[in-house]
């Protein structure tokens, strides 16, 4: 997420600037980038606007205290983790039984920068590996990545719920990565 302020400065560069001059304004710019996303996460889990607003403020305070204390390589993932933990704590405190779906943490790492030939080989492996996926994952991955269908369209055409569609796509992609890694090692 970006807004118009200082878009040319990366999140980690903002933290570096804070560490070098001690000016909290850099952290302010960083946190403002994620206000809406953090609020969305808190709304998803807490399901109450006032509690979500309060949670975002608490997350901001924690971030202002913690950022810069130790190296944080992926501030976006770190903020997400803080938000999830805060919401979980709130939910536990309320003794509300809400099952948080198992979330795959932010894949902050960028895929290895393969050469064009490597990429082409990966695409061949992807094509070959697709039949190895479970049928539900295979159909969702095909409809999403190859036919560029929306979650809603896939849900309508397959009868899966939106949550199931997302889950099949995420798990399918993860399984494809595992299969390809295996093939890469064997090659």
């Amino acid at each position: 997420m970006t807004n118009n302020r200082y878009t040319d400065i990366t999140d980690t560069a903002l933290i570096d600037r804070f560490i070098s001059d001690g000016n909290n304004a850099w952290l302010g710019i960083l946190l403002e980038r994620y206000t809406l996303l953090l609020f969305g996460v808190c709304m998803k889990y807490l399901k109450n606007e006032e509690e979500a607003k309060d949670a975002v403020q608490q997350i901001f305070i924690k971030a202002l205290e913690e950022l810069g204390k130790y190296p944080i390589h992926y501030p976006k993932s770190w903020l997400y983790k803080v938000a999830c933990n805060h919401c979980l704590m709130k939910i536990r405190a309320k003794k509300t039984m809400i099952a948080l779906t198992e979330t795959n943490m932010e894949q902050a790492t960028v895929e290895p920068t393969d050469t064009a030939a490597d990429k082409e080989q990966n695409f061949i492996w992807l094509e070959e590996s697709l039949p190895d996926l479970q049928p539900d994952q295979r159909s969702c991955v095909t409809l999403f990545y190859l036919q560029k269908k929306s979650y809603q369209e896939i849900s309508d055409s397959t009868g899966f719920s939106l949550l199931q569609v997302k889950s099949h796509i995420q798990n399918g992609k993860r399984n494809l990565r595992i299969i390809i890694d295996k093939k890469r090692k064997e090659a």
Partner: protein, 118 residues
């Protein structure tokens, strides 16, 4: 085969305006695909959009965001003031020290002149 490039993670950042377009259902096919592709890669974005989709009004979301950012600015402000005050306090000590040294020099000069004349 090249259609598989869609499965590669995207490095483009979604702007707030684009997110609002997606939430209001006004995103183009291309933008909708890009956002949903990033949702598949990012639990953060996925969870956030799930939460934000509970709102029908984008104006309400804008207002909430402004409130939270204003609160953040207030949280940051006292710390800045404290920093400024601390800087001033340090400068006062410096001024006191300089004045003290100058006074000592003047007194020393006067004493030397007084005894020198005698």
């Amino acid at each position: 085969m090249s259609e598989w490039k869609n499965i590669l993670p995207s490095n483009s950042l979604i702007t707030e305006e684009q997110l609002m377009q997606y939430l209001s259902g006004e995103a183009s096919e291309e933008l909708r695909f890009e956002i949903e592709k990033q949702m598949a890669d990012s639990a953060f974005l996925d969870d956030a959009i799930d939460g934000l989709q509970q709102y029908d009004s984008l104006a309400a979301l804008h207002s909430l965001k402004s409130q939270l950012n204003n609160q953040l600015k207030k949280t940051l402000a006292p710390k800045l003031k404290r920093r400024k005050r601390k800087v001033f306090q340090d400068q006062y000590w410096l001024i006191y020290a300089i004045v003290g040294i100058l006074l000592l020099c003047i007194m020393g000069y006067l004493v030397i002149r007084l005894y020198g004349n005698k």
